[in-house]
């Protein structure tokens, strides 16, 4: 990714996808997204933009929660994806410190649980250990993809939001998958199968 004179979006989105796939398959694992000059100049948060470039196209609907800077039109121009209401979106983008009402998102149907929304949310900081992270939530995770248990620390996420996400996942396979991204490009995925206990540190 060092050659910024020739931006290879094919290689770039492939690498981003593999990080997301690895993190989705191993909930709580913290991966790293790469950035390049071409995406860093975006008015959208760089790393949210990276995920959007990787997942969105004209076949899907997205929503930017509490969009105050016309980010939707920027994303739309770059991905050709359609902007839609929270209730109909496939991907919900959430800025730092925002707390949307997850209950409005689609959770799929019993026959087609994949017709559900994925949330891509910015947080302050993610880490596999809680050292150095003050006022973080320490999540103890278990479920598919996790050998016994795994710990992840998140700063910039509220307990209330976690509880509301858990509530939306109470009827598996219906549910919401959650991609957390921090300001330095670290990423952690929480699929609907994850069970967790939470503690404030």
């Amino acid at each position: 990714m060092s050659d910024s004179t020739h931006f290879d979006q094919t290689a770039y989105t492939q690498a981003t996808f593999r990080t997301l796939l690895d993190c989705m398959a191993r909930p709580g694992k913290v991966g790293s997204l790469l950035t390049v000059a071409e995406v860093a100049s975006s008015p959208f948060d760089t790393y949210l933009f990276v995920v959007a470039l990787t997942l969105l196209d004209h076949e899907v609907v997205f929503h930017v929660y509490s969009d105050q800077c016309s980010l939707s039109s920027h994303l739309q121009a770059h991905t050709m994806a359609r902007v839609g209401a929270v209730e109909e979106c496939d991907y919900l983008f959430v800025g730092r410190g925002e707390s949307p009402d997850f209950r409005r998102l689609k959770r799929g149907s019993w026959q087609y649980p994949d017709e559900s929304a994925t949330i891509i949310q910015l947080v302050e900081e993610l880490g596999e250990v809680t050292d150095g992270l003050e006022q973080a939530l320490r999540l103890e995770l278990c479920g598919p993809g996790i050998q016994r248990s795994r710990t992840v620390a998140v700063r910039g996420l509220s307990c209330e939001l976690l509880q509301s996400w858990r509530h939306c996942n109470r009827e598996f396979p219906l549910g919401l998958d959650w991609i957390l991204v921090d300001k330095s490009g670290q990423v952690c995925c929480l699929p609907r199968t994850v069970q967790f206990t939470v503690e404030v540190v």
Partner: protein
Amino acid sequence: MTSYSYNYGFLDEQTKKEIRRKLLQAVAIPGYQVPYGSREMPIARGWGTGGLQITLSIIGKQDTLKVIDQGCDFSVNACNLRNFIAATTGNTVTTDTAEASIVQTRHRIPEEAMREDQILVFQVPYPEILRWVEPSERETRRMHAERDYGKLWVFLYEDIVRWGEITLSYRYPVLVNQRYAMDPSPIPRHDVPKLHQAETLFLFGAGREKRLYAVPPYTEVVPLQFEDYHFTIENFGGQPCRSCGSTSSYLNEVYDGETGERYFSCSDTSHCAKNSRGAIRHE
């Protein structure tokens, strides 16, 4: 090497994007078959298009690829697929399971234990395990939705009544994460336990039926069985592989037309060769 006129990995980026989105969902709902819009490929359907589309959607320049067909790297099918992927990506290929980051397979799981940094992609001819017992797609959807697998249990029970054991040798039904009945593809029973609590991510693609599904690592995968009739793997009567002497690998019975002799030989040929050289790391 890079003078190809088509996109890296043959598929256009939009096709890859769709498959990637569906793969993330498949991982999030272990064992659930996600519908996707399978594209026409320059190989005949039924020759692994589903697996091929997954491999081409996940592969990147740093990957090393292995392709096997019934355990063999050098069958026509495996060679065609490997050559096609190599030609459209320029990626490195290998026959050594330990060297590969992506293994695409038809009907086997490699003998050598796979690791966390590897992905196994299965070519699936028939993704719907309930097709044994129910022809209607609408009805199988309902059965999965309601976790209504009674007919599948009856099917296995009737097998026991008739034969005194469960005779299914391939496509043995498994229950994933205590929720979805899943077709593990036509792997032998020998390979079924390897799906349970594995280090590796397993991805399954059925091109003709336009379905993909996944088993994440460290996920419960249990063969359907009865308390008094347990799932068992194949038994080769304690006979070893004639080439490498292995008694733990899945064996093919070979008949020598000239001598009339019958003997056993590993189905996973590269593992067999490696084992003969003493190059297998045993845990």
